[in-house]
C-alpha cells in the first residue's frame, strides 16, 4: 500500500467514524418513528383518560376517523367522521391507521409540538402517538403520499376544542400569531392552517371554479361569539369543468353538476358528537343562507361528507383506457366559538 492509498483509507475511516456517531446518536429516535408499534411506547405512562383511541382509514380521497375514550366520535349516528379529528389540549391520540385501497400517508406538520409523517400501506397497520397541541384551534393534517388525481383534496383538521367552555380570545390570538410564523419560517408551526376570519356573526363564502371556499382545503376558519345569531351565506358556483369534483359524469358519459347532496352547518360538541344544525340540498349559483344561534364550542360547515366523483367522458372509461373515480371533499371548513 502506497502513501496515497493510506491517505484514502484514513479519509474513509474518518467518514466512517462520523457516520457511526450519527447512527448511534439518532438510534433511539429510530424506534419511535415510521409507524412501528413501538411508536406507542410514549403512551405507557399516560392515564387512559388522556388517551383517545383513534382509528384512521384512508381511502381515495378521504380519511375516515373513529374515536373512542375521552372523545367518542358520533356524526349524526355514525361513529365515523370524515377528515376530522376532535380532541382537547394535553390529550394524546393513540392512532391505528389502515388503508382501504391504495398507499397513503398521514402527515401532521405541526412543528411546534411534533411532526407525524407515516406511510399507510394496504395490508399493513400503521401506529403512532400524536400529542394534541396545547393550543386550541384547528390544525391541518393531510395525505402526504400521492394516491390519484384528487390527491390534493385529502386534507383534514385536528380540531382542538377547549376541555370545557369556549375558545379563549387570547388563545385565538396566539394561534393566529403561530400561523403567521409558520407561514414565514421553515419548520415552525403548521403552514397549512387556513385563513381565520372574524370574530363576526355574518359570513359569506363562495366556491371558486374548483369547488373550494377561498381557494383552500379546508375553507377558511370562521370565528364567532358565544350566543351570537350567526348568518352563514354559502354560494356554490355552478361547476362547469373537469377541474371541479362537483362536476360528475353519468354511466353514459354525460357530465352535469352533482345533485342530491346536502350542504349544512353542524355543531361539534366537547365529547365528539357532531349534530345537525341546519342543512339543505345543494343548489348552484344562488345563496344558501343558514342562520343559527352559536351555542356549541365549534361547528363545521359546507359539504362534510365526501362526493363520489366519476370521470367518464363519452362513457369511455374502462380497464383498458383507464378509470378515475373516488370520494372527494373540498367545500367545508370550521367555525370556532369565542367565549365571553
Amino acid at each position: 500500500m502506497d502513501k496515497k492509498e493510506k491517505y484514502e483509507i484514513a479519509w474513509a475511516l474518518f467518514v466512517i467514524v462520523l457516520f457511526a456517531v450519527v447512527i448511534v446518536g439518532t438510534l433511539p429516535q429510530d424506534f419511535v418513528v415510521g409507524g412501528v408499534p413501538n411508536s406507542l411506547s410514549i403512551l405507557r405512562n399516560d392515564p387512559p383518560s388522556d388517551v383517545i383511541q383513534t382509528t384512521v382509514i384512508s381511502e381515495q380521497y378521504v380519511f375516515l376517523v373513529k374515536e373512542a375514550g375521552p372523545v367518542n366520535s358520533n356524526e349524526m349516528g355514525s361513529p365515523y367522521l370524515y377528515n376530522l379529528i376532535i380532541a382537547h389540549p394535553g390529550e394524546w391520540l393513540n392512532m391505528t391507521m389502515r388503508s382501504a385501497d391504495v398507499t397513503a400517508n398521514f402527515y401532521f406538520p405541526d412543528y411546534a409540538d411534533t411532526v407525524v409523517d407515516d406511510q399507510i400501506v394496504p395490508g399493513l397497520v400503521t401506529y403512532d402517538a400524536l400529542r394534541v397541541p396545547n393550543l386550541t384551534g384547528p390544525f391541518v393534517f393531510l395525505n402526504g403520499e400521492y394516491n390519484g388525481p384528487w390527491f390534493s383534496y385529502q386534507v383534514g383538521e385536528l380540531l382542538v376544542l377547549p376541555s370545557s367552555g369556549y375558545f379563549d380570545s387570547q388563545d385565538l390570538s396566539l394561534l393566529q400569531a403561530q400561523n403567521l410564523r409558520a407561514q414565514s419560517s421553515g419548520l415552525v408551526g403548521d403552514p397549512y392552517n387556513t385563513q381565520m376570519i372574524g370574530p363576526s356573526s355574518q359570513f359569506t363564502v363562495v366556491t371558486d371554479k374548483y369547488g373550494l371556499f377561498n381557494g383552500s382545503v379546508p375553507g377558511p376558519t370562521l370565528i364567532t361569539r358565544l350566543g351570537d345569531q350567526v348568518t352563514l351565506n354559502m354560494i356554490f358556483t355552478t361547476p362547469a369543468s373537469d377541474h371541479n369534483y362537483l362536476y360528475n359524469y353519468s354511466a353514459a358519459g354525460v357530465p352535469s353538476p352533482v345533485q342530491g347532496i346536502e350542504v349544512g352547518v353542524y355543531a361539534v360538541w366537547w365529547n365528539g358528537t357532531v349534530s345537525l344544525v341546519a342543512q339543505q340540498p345543494i343548489s348552484y349559483g344562488k345563496p344558501m343562507i343558514f342562520t343559527f344561534n352559536a351555542t356549541a364550542p365549534a361547528y363545521v360547515y359546507g359539504i362534510i361528507s365526501p362526493v363520489y366523483n366519476v370521470y367518464n367522458p363519452d362513457g369511455m372509461s374502462n380497464n383498458l383506457i383507464g378509470q378515475d373515480k373516488g370520494y372527494v371533499m373540498g367545500a367545508w371548513g370550521t367555525i370556532l366559538v369565542e367565549g365571553s
Binding site: 484514502e8 439518532t26 412501528v36 400517508n105 390519484g148 388525481p149 414565514s184 392552517n193 370521470y311 369511455m316
Partner: protein
C-alpha cells in the same frame, strides 16, 4: 438547417447515416434521447406553470389528470427516454471506440433501440380520438412506486395496462442492450494485457448496476401486470420494496456515468495521472456492492422492522464511502494543477462540486430520524433534482461537448452559445434547487397541486420556476448549437486521436499523454467458448440468486418474519457474486 443543405443531407447529418453502424445506432439513441428529453422538459414546464400560477393567482391551468400525468411523463421521459438512453449510447460508443473492438450482434442493439423508444410511447397511455379527442387518460401514477395504485380491484384510479407493458419493454431494453455491452467487455477482457482504464471500469460497473437494479422493477412489473388481470394477488409492500431495489439504484445508475466521466476528464484536464488508480477501482467495486440493496431507506416511514431499517441506514451510509474516496481522489489529482478554463472544464467542475452539494442533502435524507421530518416533502424533490441538475447533467454535457465532435468530425458551431449554455444552465439549476429546498423546509408536501398561498411558499415556487425557465432556455441554446454543429460545424480532423488528444483539440485546452489500448478484435467462437472463466460463471450464479431472492420477498407478508432477512441476504450475496468476479474477470480490479 443550412440553406445549401437538402432534407436528405440534413437527415444524414443528424443521424450520422454515413458512419459505421455502431455510430449510427448511437446517434439514433442520442437524437431520440434528446427528443424525449425535450418532451419531458415540456412536461416539467407544465408542472411548474400549474404550481406557480396557482400560487400567484389561485388559478389551476391544467386539470388534475393533466397535472399529475405531467409529473409521471416528466419522470419517465427524462429519466429513461432521455437519461438512460443517452447513458447507454455513451457506454456503447466508448466501449467500442476505446477498446477498439469490432462490434458484433447488430440485431441485438437495433432491437433494443426500438424497444426503449416504443416503451416511452406505451407509458404515455392511450389517447382517445373518437367520438371526441381526449388525452386525459394519460398515465398519472408518478413513476409508480406506490403500489397498488392504478390496479383495478385495488385502486379507484385505474391506469391503462399499456403503462405496465411500456415498463416491461424498458426492462427488455435494459437487459438486451446491457448484455450487448457486457458481452463486448467480455470479448475485450480475453485479450487485454493490462487493466481497464478507470473510466471504462465505471462504465462496465454501471452497466452491471443497471442490470442488477432492474431485477427489482422487472419483478414488480410482472407482478403488476399479473395482478392487473387478477392472475395473482398483490402484496403492496413487497411490490414497493422490489420496485425500490431499482428506484434507489437508478440514482446511482444515472450518477455513476458522471463519476466515470470525472475520472476521465479531471486527470485529462489537469494533465496529471489519477492520484490513486487502485482506490478508483475499489470505489467502483464498492459502488456496485452497496447501490442495489438499500430499497428500504425509501420506506423508513412504513411499519417495517426497525432492525432492518437500521441495517439499511448503515448500508446507505456505506455507499457514501466510495463517493468520499472519489472526491478525495479527484481533488488530490487536480490540486495545484494549471487548468485552463473552457466549457468542458466548467461543466466538469460543476459536476464535481454539484455532487458534493447535492450529496449532503442525500446523507440527511438517509438518516431515519431526519427522514421522519422531511419525508414526502419537497426537500426530497430538491435533493434528487440537485443530483440530476448539478452533477449528472453537467457531467453528461462535459462528455457530449467532446463526444459530438468525436462522432461527427465537426467542431462546435459556436463557443459563445456553449458559454451561454453553461452560465444559464448553472444559474437556472441552482435557483430551481434552492426554491424546492425552501418549499420542503416550509413543510410543503411534494406534488401539491393546491397548497397554501402564503408569500414564503409562493416566492419559493416562483424562484423554482424562474430557475427552470432560465435553465431550459440555456438548454435550448445548446440544442440549437448541436443542430447547427451537425449541419454547419467546421470540419475537424479528429480521426486517430486518443480521447485525451481529442479533448485537447475540442476544448483547445491541455494535452494528454494518454494510453491507447489496442487489442485484437477478431475472435473465433471457439476462443469465446474457452474464455468463459470461473469468474464470469460466478456472475451468472449471482444473477440467478438475485432472481431467487424475489420469492422470499414476495412471500414476506407484513415483513415481521424471517423472510425479509433471507431476501436481503440473498440479494446482497447475488450482488457480491456479480460485482467482484465480473469486475475481476473484466480486468477492472
Amino acid at each position: 438547417m443550412g440553406i445549401d443543405m437538402g432534407f436528405k443531407e440534413f437527415v444524414t447529418a443528424l443521424f450520422q447515416l454515413d458512419k459505421d453502424w455502431t455510430t449510427r445506432i448511437v446517434m439514433g439513441m442520442l437524437v431520440m434521447g434528446v427528443i424525449w428529453g425535450l418532451l419531458g422538459v415540456i412536461d416539467s414546464l407544465m408542472v411548474r406553470l400549474q404550481e406557480t400560477i396557482w400560487g400567484v393567482s389561485g388559478v389551476l391551468v391544467f386539470t388534475p389528470q393533466e397535472y399529475f400525468a405531467s409529473i409521471t411523463l416528466h419522470a419517465e421521459r427524462d429519466l429513461f427516454g432521455f437519461a438512460q438512453q443517452v447513458i447507454y449510447a455513451i457506454f456503447i460508443f466508448f466501449t467500442i471506440k476505446l477498446l477498439n473492438l469490432q462490434p458484433r450482434a447488430k440485431w441485438l442493439l437495433n432491437v433494443s433501440f426500438i424497444l426503449i423508444n416504443i416503451s416511452m410511447m406505451f407509458m404515455e397511455g392511450p389517447v382517445v380520438l373518437v367520438p371526441n379527442f381526449n388525452d386525459n387518460y394519460f398515465s398519472a401514477t408518478i413513476w409508480y412506486y406506490i403500489s397498488p395504485i392504478g390496479l383495478p380491484n385495488y385502486s379507484n384510479y385505474v391506469v391503462s395496462p399499456l403503462f405496465f407493458i411500456g415498463w416491461l419493454l424498458l426492462d427488455a431494453f435494459t437487459y438486451m442492450a446491457g448484455i450487448w455491452i457486457v458481452y463486448h467487455y467480455y470479448i475485450a477482457s480475453r485479450q487485454l494485457k493490462e487493466k481497464l482504464p478507470v473510466p471504462l471500469v465505471f462504465f462496465l460497473m454501471d452497466t452491471l448496476l443497471f442490470m442488477i437494479g432492474y431485477s427489482g422493477v422487472t419483478a414488480a412489473n410482472v407482478w403488476d401486470l399479473l395482478s392487473f388481470y387478477n392472475v395473482i394477488p398483490m402484496n403492496p409492500i413487497a411490490n414497493q420494496i422490489a420496485f425500490w431495489i431499482f428506484g434507489h439504484a437508478v440514482v446511482y445508475m444515472a450518477w455513476l456515468p458522471a463519476i466515470g466521466a470525472l475520472y476521465l476528464l479531471i486527470p485529462t484536464l489537469a494533465n496529471r495521472p489519477l492520484f490513486s488508480d487502485r482506490m478508483g477501482r475499489i470505489s467502483a467495486l464498492l459502488y456496485l456492492i452497496f447501490s442495489n440493496n438499500v430499497p428500504i431507506h425509501h420506506l423508513y416511514m412504513v411499519n417495517l422492522p426497525v432492525t432492518i431499517k437500521v441495517l439499511q441506514e448503515v448500508l446507505t451510509y456505506a455507499v457514501v464511502i466510495p463517493s468520499m474516496m472519489t472526491f478525495l481522489n479527484l481533488w488530490a489529482t487536480v490540486k495545484g494543477a494549471q487548468v485552463k478554463f473552457n466549457v468542458i472544464t466548467a461543466f466538469t467542475v460543476t459536476a464535481f462540486t454539484g455532487a458534493i452539494a447535492a450529496g449532503v442533502t442525500g446523507i440527511s435524507n438517509a438518516t431515519i430520524a431526519f427522514d421522519a421530518i422531511v419525508h414526502n416533502t419537497d426537500w426530497v424533490v430538491s435533493h434528487f433534482h440537485a443530483m440530476i441538475l448539478l452533477s449528472i447533467v453537467p457531467a453528461a454535457m462535459a462528455v457530449l461537448y467532446f463526444m459530438i465532435p468525436m462522432m461527427t468530425g465537426r467542431q462546435w458551431f459556436s463557443s459563445k452559445m456553449a458559454w451561454f449554455h453553461w452560465l444559464g444552465y448553472v444559474i437556472g439549476s441552482v435557483l430551481f434547487v434552492v426554491g424546492y429546498e425552501l418549499q420542503g423546509l416550509e413543510g410543503l408536501i411534494r406534488r401539491a397541486e393546491i397548497y397554501p398561498r402564503i408569500p414564503s411558499l409562493v416566492d419559493a415556487e416562483v424562484l423554482s420556476t424562474v430557475g427552470a425557465l432560465i435553465a431550459q432556455v440555456a438548454t435550448l441554446v445548446w440544442f440549437l448549437n448541436l443542430v447547427l454543429t451537425l449541419v454547419k460545424g467546421r470540419t475537424a480532423r479528429l480521426e486517430g486521436l486518443s480521447v485525451g488528444q481529442l479533448i485537447n483539440t475540442v476544448a483547445s485546452s491541455l494535452g494528454w499523454e494518454g494510453e491507447s489500448i489496442n487489442i485484437s478484435t477478431l475472435f473465433s467462437k471457439i476462443m469465446i467458448k474457452k474464455a468463459i472463466s470461473s469468474m464470469w460463471a460466478l456472475g451468472i450464479l449471482g444473477s440467478i440468486i438475485i432472481v431467487v431472492s424475489m420469492f422470499p420477498l414476495a412471500m414476506s407478508g407484513n415483513t415481521y418474519n424471517d423472510l425479509p432477512w433471507i431476501w436481503i441476504t440473498l440479494l446482497t450475496l447475488g450482488i457480491v457474486l456479480i460485482a467482484y468476479p465480473i469486475l475481476r474477470g473484466a480486468k477492472s480490479l
